[in-house]
Symmetry: C2
Subunit: 149 residues, 2 copies
């Protein structure tokens, strides 16, 4: 019965994670994006091209997998490989206009807070936001949970 607010908060977060997984899969299906394709599109920000290697690290998978994932996105015209001048080994990945559009659709559907959050009293929404801001601020500083993102 020892009170451990951190552990309790984390357990609650885990429950929200799993509801979020359902939402993620559903949005991906609506837009014909397999999970890793969705992640890749999410991680490629407009105007901030990434190399294959950087994308592999962000996706947390072996570099060899990225070839296929990028192939399929490129075939759909959502991203493109670009050469880089100073190192001819590297290929930079950039969103096409179509890719930016689809990314925006996907992210906006994910960004819409579920009704359960919207239904909270405004003061609870603010409390949640403020507490999470401190968690994320710590995340940015220390990065030990994972090298994601």
């Amino acid at each position: 019965m020892a009170s451990d607010p951190a552990a309790e908060a984390w357990a609650l977060l885990s429950q929200v994670f799993m509801a979020n997984r359902a939402h993620f899969l559903r949005v991906g299906q609506q837009l014909d994006l397999h999970p890793m394709q969705f992640h890749a599109l999410r991680l490629l920000e407009p105007g901030a091209a990434k190399s294959m290697r950087e994308l592999a690290d962000s996706l947390i998978c072996d570099a060899s997998n990225v070839t296929g994932i990028v192939d399929r996105l490129e075939e759909r015209g959502l991203i493109e490989r670009r050469a880089v001048a100073h190192d001819r080994r590297v290929k930079l990945l950039a969103l096409t206009p179509a890719g930016e559009d689809l990314r925006e659709q996907a992210l906006s559907r994910m960004a819409e807070p579920p009704d359960q959050v919207r239904a909270l009293p405004l003061e609870d929404q603010r409390a949640l936001r403020d507490a999470l801001q401190r968690v994320v601020a710590q995340l940015e500083e220390t990065k030990p949970v994972g090298a994601a993102g």
Copy 2:
């Protein structure tokens, strides 16, 4: 610049989700559990057997996939298929003692709150917990985010 605490809180949650994905993958690798095997083990609670169909719904995948996922867990001796008396079509899935052990290990590694949460001032931990409790309470009531178990 219109303030929308719900949207802001949700955006912050998304960032935590992605750090959590890294952690989930890492724990799974440590225990030789592929992601869906990990999910299946998590969803099969000790003393609460589920049918293949129920597990498929909880995993949010087609029932045909569950055959293979369950096969691999059963080959490792972590779960077992059991017949049920009143309906001979159904197979109930139950954890073995080894499965309960591994599940406990996996969940306890996931349950350990990351340093970023532990590092919060106690009052922030409590605020986070209390706000999330209200989110999850809403989740239980309405279930529109996803049918995830």
